[in-house]
């Protein structure tokens, strides 16, 4: 009884009209993004405090990260954000086919990002560049290089898990878009998933210089 025929421009019973519902949903998502920023914020605060206390450790740690991987991943995520907005753009223009294509490219970008992340992780785990107590890399100069890698794994790990969740949500959007459920009157799910995906991109924009490009 709670299902509503969205394609006909209908809406849940407690809203005045479809636009009212759309705006409220976006409001909710923005509040949720606020919580996400603050959750990552704790890690950023820890990053800044530790990098101020131990600058050499952080410079040394960054040397073991390959900036090329980071740069490629940045470009991949930026591209995926672009195709995400295209997904909304085509839904707004009632072009279901191109909407599905755009969202699919976004999903593929997510896979590329995670694959590169996997290569990086595998390489570091092999070298023994592990977090905290598990750190076992013999040639480390700083006595607490493990702390840098704790920061690295926590930040990229939490970010990576968000990428995975975002990919799942985009997949769900693709399935619904293929059924032709989205149109210029109703595309709230893509809009909301899009906002989430852009936030994930936004966090990576800061993580890239902070982790890979320190001097």
């Amino acid at each position: 009884m709670n299902t509503v025929n969205r394609t006909a421009g209908e809406y849940a019973h407690h809203f005045e009209n479809a636009d009212h519902e759309f705006e409220t949903s976006k409001f909710g998502i923005w509040l949720f993004l606020c919580t996400e920023v603050l959750m990552f914020g704790g890690l950023f605060v820890a990053y800044f405090l530790f990098s101020n206390l131990y600058p050499e450790t952080f410079v040394e740690g960054a040397k073991y990260l390959d900036w090329k991987y980071g740069a490629i991943n940045t470009a991949v995520l930026l591209l995926s954000s672009f195709t995400m907005v295209l997904g909304i753009y085509y839904a707004q223009n009632n072009n279901t086919k191109k909407c599905v294509t755009s969202l699919s490219i976004t999903l593929v970008c997510g896979f590329i990002f995670m694959f590169i992340k996997y290569l990086e992780y595998a390489h570091k785990i092999e070298m023994g560049l592990l977090p905290g107590e598990m750190f076992s890399f013999a040639e480390a100069q700083s006595s607490n290089l493990g702390l840098y890698f704790s920061v690295y794994y926590m930040m990229t790990g939490l970010h990576g898990s968000h990428v995975l969740v975002g990919m799942g949500l985009i997949f769900w959007c693709i399935l619904r878009a293929r059924k032709g459920e989205f149109n210029s009157k109703y595309y709230t799910p893509i809009e909301c998933v899009g906002l989430f995906w852009h936030l994930v991109d936004l966090i990576w924009i800061y993580l890239f210089p902070l982790l890979y490009l320190i001097d």
Partner: protein, 530 residues
Amino acid sequence: MSSAVIDKSKNYINHEKGLWSWLTTLDHKRIGILYMITVMAFFLIGGIFAMLIRTELFTAGKTIVDAAQYNQLMTFHGAIMVFMVIIPGIPAFLGNFFLPLQLGAKDVAFPRVNLMSWYCLIVGAAISFFSLFYHGADTGWTFYTPYSIKTDNGTILLVLGAFVMGFSSILTGLNFIATTHRLRAPGMGFFEMPLFVWGLYSTAIIQVIATPVLAITLLLLAAEKTMGIGFFDPALGGDPVLFQHFFWFYSHPAVYIMILPAMGIISELITTYSRKVIFGYKAIAFSSVGIAAVSFFVWGHHMFVSGQSEVAGVIFSFLTMLVGVPTAIKTFNWVATMYKGSIQFQSPMLYAMGFLFLFTIGGVTGVMLATMAADVHFHDTYFVVAHFHYVMVGGTLMAIMGGIYHWFPKMFGKMYSELGAQLSFAFIFVGFNVTFFPQFILGAQGMPRRYFDYLPAFEPLNQISSVGSWTIGVGFLIGLWVIIHGLLRGEKAPDNPWGAKTLEWQTTSPPPHENFYDQPKVTGGPYEYR
């Protein structure tokens, strides 16, 4: 959409039938009832733990449990009461039920999210209780490092449970902010909202901003325990005090998650039972938001003796005093509302007046603790325990009880036994003071908190305190009887038994599935008594 004939025998309770319809409901009123049942069950468990703690402390040395069991009792009493009772207590239970009703809305903005938030609480609580099968946790509800890193791994489950329950709190807060902004009835601006809504709105802001920091803190603690990441471990260059910063950045504002909605209820009760328009509506409304904002600037007063720098301590000591300003504004406005009002001593009003008395004691001792020089002496003594119980129990719990009695006729369409409610209040009020006032003295004399044992010299006052705690227990049992008796045998309640003016009293008792038969329109302020 609506049928021609309105059947007024249908309400949200008998709208659909069966347990399944309750577990999958999207109706904010039913979700509120689900929260009521869970919170009451957790309160019973937490209360039993409290009784056991007080009974153990009846005599010095071992009385009924050993030291390790005592630490578990103390930890679970704290964790249950904070995460499962007081934080969801008012917003998720009474707030869920009455926020949309007071706004004249049909539901909260995101009904599915609302249900999900209840399941988060259930799952989180289940994980927490599961830790009892893995040697439990003995860190206290604050999980301070480095001890929490070293202690038994059962702690991880309690930490993860609190993490999941945090999402419940976030989702409720998010829902309430969106509802308040977007779903007010036609004609209701922000300054026509009831003050309970203002309280919930301020609470929701804190829930949304502070809780994510708790989430990351607990996640880091779990990673610390499983992988040894070293964020809080000095051996690896980490900082144990950083844990306290992160923890209290959430947990101090969380104190206001507990008290702000309580203040909202008190505003409703005092104006209703004084039959008088609330004094200083805007001052009360803004002081709610003011408390919410200031609450983020004061967390360091929990850390005066934890190795935080003196400069930070002085800053926090000063900022903490600021909280006293908006709080006092509220108190004076409540007293001014009662002045020359036609006060009715219904049980909700008794609870409201109990709140004023106890909360003022809690607040004034709070200013004593905010003074850094005094806090060095009082820190980690029973003075602190007495202070926050005066605020949390004397404040929040009094407000919850008052709120339950005030809205009971609306929620269930039945009246409760006024005599029983007054008797319950008498036991709770007297028992509460007998329990916690001696603890101020004990604390000032230097009895440390959280210990299983104490010096023989402290025994007489501890025994008074324990007797008081049993009195409170009796009071709450009577309260439980009043509620159950009202549910089963209560007389049918009229739509507006107290002659209150806010929107929820304009619909039937209990309200129909869609809250109102006609969309209410608002033309004036919420408290136009005279």
